[in-house]
Assembly symmetry: C2
Homo-oligomer: 384 residues x 2
């Protein structure tokens, strides 16, 4: 199976040296062997991982060992409700959902309506509005409503404060400041945040696996330092690369800069206009130049998005890569393909969001896992 993943010779990375990030953060590459093992256990291939968009990890091998030994693992991710969500936000949830589906594990999704209040100049009303909207987007991803718990920190705090007290006692100001970059001007809420961020990694007596972009890795150093003091396992992580902004690999997709991102509620027409107007092209400046030199796939947003996020068909993406890089396919053509794929993806997502009332209710309150969580009080015990 493994041989097939390397679908193109065009395994190009744009502006970021991802190998260096692995060195920098001290994580491990997801090599062919681990990838094969992951797919074997899943009984399926995952688009993002086979295209090496998901490419680094910490302790994933251990989580798989434990899965095979039937100790299992669980997934934890989250969202900060400070804006509408774009396609970059939701991909990580789709990946998480894929793991849940294939490995039949629980997923905990923390909605950080406290942290966003501390971190941004934002009102309660805005936080409420975005939390409700973001939760619907996430529910629309299709998580198992009986194995998924979406919780707003402010609402669930009473059930996890005992555990948070224990974690907070094990983190000092210097550690929090060195890991999160806090300063004297940081408010004491934000300074307390690491304790709240960590508590879900202790929700089950199994290894927690966190899917996240690789730059998030350092924020889990504290968990790895303290987990075993409470008789828990160090959290594992699966790291993605960064999704380039629509406007090109230098920028960051941002909800507040609409042209850099495809929003989850963009209409087909908006998608078409944004892609045609703003999608950064790696093609030649002139027709002549393009026909001669072809496109630079590494910086071409349309190609990167199609390859990393959207196009399941290996043959087809290989063909696009060949034709576009050789100059046979024009930027206009690949943009058409991107528009089509994006709109298909968004249409399905939007339909599910439209009908997500019941799913939201289940994942927050009425599903099996949610009910269990509302009956629990999360506490930790020091191993002495």
């Amino acid at each position: 199976m493994a041989e097939d993943f390397d679908v193109t010779p065009f395994d190009v990375e744009g502006q970021v040296d991802y190998d260096r990030l692995i060195d920098k953060f001290g994580t491990e590459e997801i090599d062919e062997e681990l990838k094969e093992r992951f797919f074997d256990l899943a009984g399926d291939e995952n688009l993002y991982m086979k295209r090496d968009f998901i490419y680094s990890h910490r302790g994933l091998d251990k989580a798989l060992d434990e899965y095979e030994e039937e100790d299992g693992f669980f997934l934890y991710t989250g969202i900060g409700p400070s804006g509408k969500m774009h396609i970059g936000h939701i991909i990580s949830f789709y990946f998480t959902k894929w793991i849940q589906e294939k490995f039949d594990v629980n997923v905990y999704i923390q909605v950080t309506d406290d942290e966003k209040y501390w971190d941004r100049d934002i009102t309660d009303e805005e936080i409420d509005k975005y939390a409700e909207d973001n939760i619907r987007e996430i529910a629309a991803v299709g998580f198992d409503p009986d194995k998924t718990f979406i919780f707003r920190n402010r609402e669930y705090m009473g059930h996890m404060y005992d555990g948070i007290v224990k974690i907070a006692e094990k983190i000092n100001n210097s550690q929090a400041q060195s890991v999160f970059g806090f300063e004297g001007s940081t408010n004491i809420g934000m300074n307390f945040w690491p304790a709240i961020q960590n508590i879900p990694t202790f929700f089950e007596d199994k290894r927690c696996v966190i899917p996240a972009a690789i730059d998030q890795d350092p924020y889990w150093r504290i968990q790895r330092d303290i987990a075993e003091k409470f008789g828990h396992k160090k959290t594992a992580a699966i790291h993605s690369k960064f999704i380039p902004a629509l406007t090109g690999p230098e920028g960051k997709m941002s909800s507040s800069k609409p042209k850099t991102a495809i929003m989850l509620d963009d209409s087909p027409e908006e998608v078409e206009e944004k892609v045609k107007k703003h999608a950064y092209s790696g093609g030649g400046d002139t027709l002549e130049e393009h026909r001669e030199e072809g496109a630079d796939l590494a910086v071409d947003t349309s190609f990167q998005w199609l390859r990393n996020l959207l196009m399941e068909d290996d043959e087809r993406i290989r063909e696009i890569a060949e034709k576009y890089s050789s100059g046979e396919m024009m930027t206009g053509e690949i943009k058409e393909i991107l528009v089509e794929e994006l709109n298909e993806f968004l249409q399905e997502h939007q339909e599910r969001k439209e009908n997500a009332d019941e799913l939201v209710q289940q994942m927050m309150y009425d599903g099996e896992l949610a009910q269990e969580m509302w009956d629990r009080n999360i506490d930790l015990e020091l191993q002495r």
Copy 2:
């Protein structure tokens, strides 16, 4: 009325220059005029205040204005459950109860089972044990069970976290560090503590009045900085002097050093033995010297405790002061009086503690105020 308070010419202070503390903390003396007004409104005199043991304040005059205008005020105090309670701990609760009784106001008592975990090397089991015991001691003081809410932070957190989030956003690390002396080695729980300590001052839309020893005053600076941002009043405070240790004015009463303190559960025999053995005497070293020079009332624990905490009868304490300071009364005699007064006080207290089950239940859960508080969610709104 006011003239009568100054019962003795022996208005002596021991080692501490209490006027300097007023200057240092920028508080105000409770002068004769304010004292008279307070007693008039209360319809009664208070032992601790008439002896100037309660001697300084911040905003008490405003609280009394508002009381007269029928806006009212409420009382807030607390206990850190890290040990058994001694007589020094309970006096402040007796004063608080006196104010409640005379002014018919609500009292909130925060049991800081989170802060003590962060501040001390103490287990959950110890905290639980002391919290239960301390709460019984406090209930035994005789607060109005329908106007008193005793809450353990860990248990009540879910009802006040929204408000705490708002407070925490208004305090930065530098402020918390300068007021509380936090450092890099302080854990992030303790660093967050100011937000939790402050929330009860916002429990009602009236002025909060905090009875505490004067050295606690700086910890409320933050509340006074932020209160009006939330449309609330700055908290007022009524300050006591320090109660000298049994072993003398240099020491501090401490539950962990039994000979320095009378514990609330000491038996009459233990009280007698402790006082006779350890009560620091201001009397002369020899009979001759004592008869000649008399006792130094300023450093004599027996006299200080009797005058400040125990002996209601103005005539009698004046007589003791005269006789003891003149050398007519011996140390052994004043110790006898102290033993008698202490044992009377403790016996009544212990009896009420013995029968406090129902009171505890009411003040924590079933009384009118408690029920109201368990139905509430405390949140704050910024005034924009």
